[in-house]
Symmetry: C2
């Protein structure tokens, strides 16, 4: 059983109000280290056995069509565990 991870983040040129809210809240809690915070999504997809190249290509397509909005978001696919 392997886990394929799809990480979806807003593109750098897209405003990220959630990330800005976190960045504004951190100093109020005493944490002053953050220059910028971006918030995105993480999908963990469990598959049987080792993922095949075909499965990874399928997941690329699923990430493009279902898991992300390619107009404003970019994504990365990786295999963990």
């Amino acid at each position: 059983m392997a886990t394929i991870v799809v990480e979806v983040m807003l593109k750098p040129e897209i405003l990220d109000p959630q990330g800005q809210a976190v960045a504004a809240a951190l100093p109020r809690l005493g944490f002053t280290f953050a220059k910028e915070v971006r918030q995105g999504k993480r999908f963990e997809i469990s598959v049987d056995g080792t993922p095949t190249a075909e499965q990874l290509a399928d997941i690329e397509r699923a990430a493009q069509t279902l898991l992300s909005n390619p107009v404003i978001e970019s994504f990365r696919v990786k295999v963990e565990g």
Copy 2:
């Protein structure tokens, strides 16, 4: 400039309706490889220079208090780039 990543996922025993919705949608789009899908959050926190041990400890505490709900979520902190 380094990026500290905080990954927040629902604990395995917590129901994940968003992940289930994705898992249900994948076969409708012709993708039949997924056994389970879990959806979580990913925070990218930019800091100046290489993160110190103290900054990482701060981020652990920020993750516990602001970025995650420790009752239902678990998190991982890692340094990228």
